[in-house]
Symmetry: C2
Subunit: 347 residues, 2 copies
Amino acid sequence: MEMVPAKTTIREVARAAGVGIGTISRVLNSSSQVSRKTRAHVLDAIRRLGFRPNAQARRILKRRSEMVCFLLSNRDFLHPFHARILQGVESHASGLKQHVLFAALHYSPRTPPHKIDLPPVLQEHGLIDGVILAGTVYPNLLQRIESMQMPSVAFSNNVVGMDDGQQFDQVGFDDFKGMLHATRHLIGKGHRQIVFAGDISYPWLHRRFEGYRQGMRENKLKPVLIKGRSHLSFGDFGQGSVGRILSRRPRPTAVVAGNDEIAYGLWRSLCRQGVKVPDEISLVGFDDREEAVLMDPPLSTVRVHKEEIGETCMKMLLERLHHPQMAFSQRVLPTEFLIRGTVRQLD
Amino acid sequence: MEMVPAKTTIREVARAAGVGIGTISRVLNSSSQVSRKTRAHVLDAIRRLGFRPNAQARRILKRRSEMVCFLLSNRDFLHPFHARILQGVESHASGLKQHVLFAALHYSPRTPPHKIDLPPVLQEHGLIDGVILAGTVYPNLLQRIESMQMPSVAFSNNVVGMDDGQQFDQVGFDDFKGMLHATRHLIGKGHRQIVFAGDISYPWLHRRFEGYRQGMRENKLKPVLIKGRSHLSFGDFGQGSVGRILSRRPRPTAVVAGNDEIAYGLWRSLCRQGVKVPDEISLVGFDDREEAVLMDPPLSTVRVHKEEIGETCMKMLLERLHHPQMAFSQRVLPTEFLIRGTVRQLD
DNA sequence: CTGAAAGCGCTTACAG
DNA sequence: CTGAAAGCGCTTACAG
């Protein structure tokens, strides 16, 4: 059946079924106004001829492409974190017969909006119905997308430098609460000397730091920030700061790392110096990346439901498409604290 | 400019420029048969009206969608390895104004070809020009794709169970030679007692094992296979087999791991048992995954140029589209041995 | 319920 | 070089 050179057109099906082309179309679009009998004939003809309607021709009339773009900005590579978001987008999309185009973009926050060199997918008109913004999103990109009247939803955790006035649809998770829970967990286990390691010039690390701070304060504990040097990778940062952490007096019994990469770097350094985790020092991360499970013992960390983020982005984008006038919304998804092996009960 | 509700059509541009619609189309398609003067007028009108041609309408006449699908099969998640291939596909594609749809599929090798439940992207007719098959490709999937007359290129390293008769376009890297070089490297460093760790029921690990074997044989050394149990993850496999490796007499001075995941598992176990890498035992991996750099010292391994694989897949698919009758081809890309810290010079 | 017609926004021979 | 017309493969009022 599928061997038929698929050039069969709706007209040929109409002839074969002895009806007009409009009727074929109605059957295709499962319009209710076709008699059972006619429908059966048509369906049969379609099967016999191996007919499949031309996707492009349908789209032109539907005024909707049923395609969205997943745009990854300013990332050298599609990290598992974003890959999972993409998968969430795709799985939700494909269930609804929507398609997902993958595109990458590199741009500077200082480029004027209209000068940003968008990928071809976003340049063509009518190719996509909307875009999901992942990776780092600066105000200029958002402005550009808006000026094109292109519906969009942003993964909000990596949105940077947006002033409060700017409204847009966004989905993200709660950095603050995630870290608050992690900190409370440590305190619940009897820890008092807890430091935070991370470069808080990144907005998301800053929010996590605030969560940590809140946890410390509500327990009358003094928050301590081990700042990083921003030119270091997170992993190197972790390694570099071990010395500073261990030399503090009183010596910290636990470290809250801004993310798993930092935690991994810390762990590796600790190993090297013969400091045992969690026996001598407890460790907690954030993100639940691969590194977390590669550690020994595996890292207690804050899990982010990445697929769910993707799924929610897709959902929200679809809502936006159906209700263009709807007010902008922001969804914040909860995180989950994963107890694994790097936190020790004190006392 | 981009503020104009982008419903401008070619007819309005024609009116504004005082020419026929055919001329607009010719300018759009940079046909040479338009005078400089007319072209300038048209271009000006296009700019003034903020006109952008409707992508769908163009495609219907071009008989080409300029879209390809990157199909990831039987993977629970888009691992960095495949993510990099996807990026290679995308970057090459976008340079040529081609677009990339991402889709995932789960299927059994035993499902009859026509019963495989393809993702929506592959069900619509005319939506994509071709497909790049990544993830595990069994004969039934390939047959199905062929029966649809859908041009395709497969990433060949994960193709499984294909009999020699079946021809198809494929791109991959050289498992055999990659491991041969790695083995020779170890031998060059004075190692003689070298074992291979990996479950060779995976075809790609089998090929790597053969490369190792060749390296051993050409140096009159006896190859030793540390088999895995296939229900274990690669990482656990590595950990589980350390005991068996260390208890061999004479004790191996080096391990060739079937991939980096296994190498990482081995390393972690070795660490735990206090066996130093590379002082007491050398270690070599394959793939250059993230794990390789997370080890301490970083793993010497065989690098695979993943972006290049993606790029080559895209190139080959485009060739196929332009030359449907062309003979099938298979490209094997070279690998590169990365000397990092896990191999010690003996003597 | 159904056919014949008009139309979506383009491209491409066909004449000139 | 360029316009007017036919046509791509569909959908959708418009009549009946």
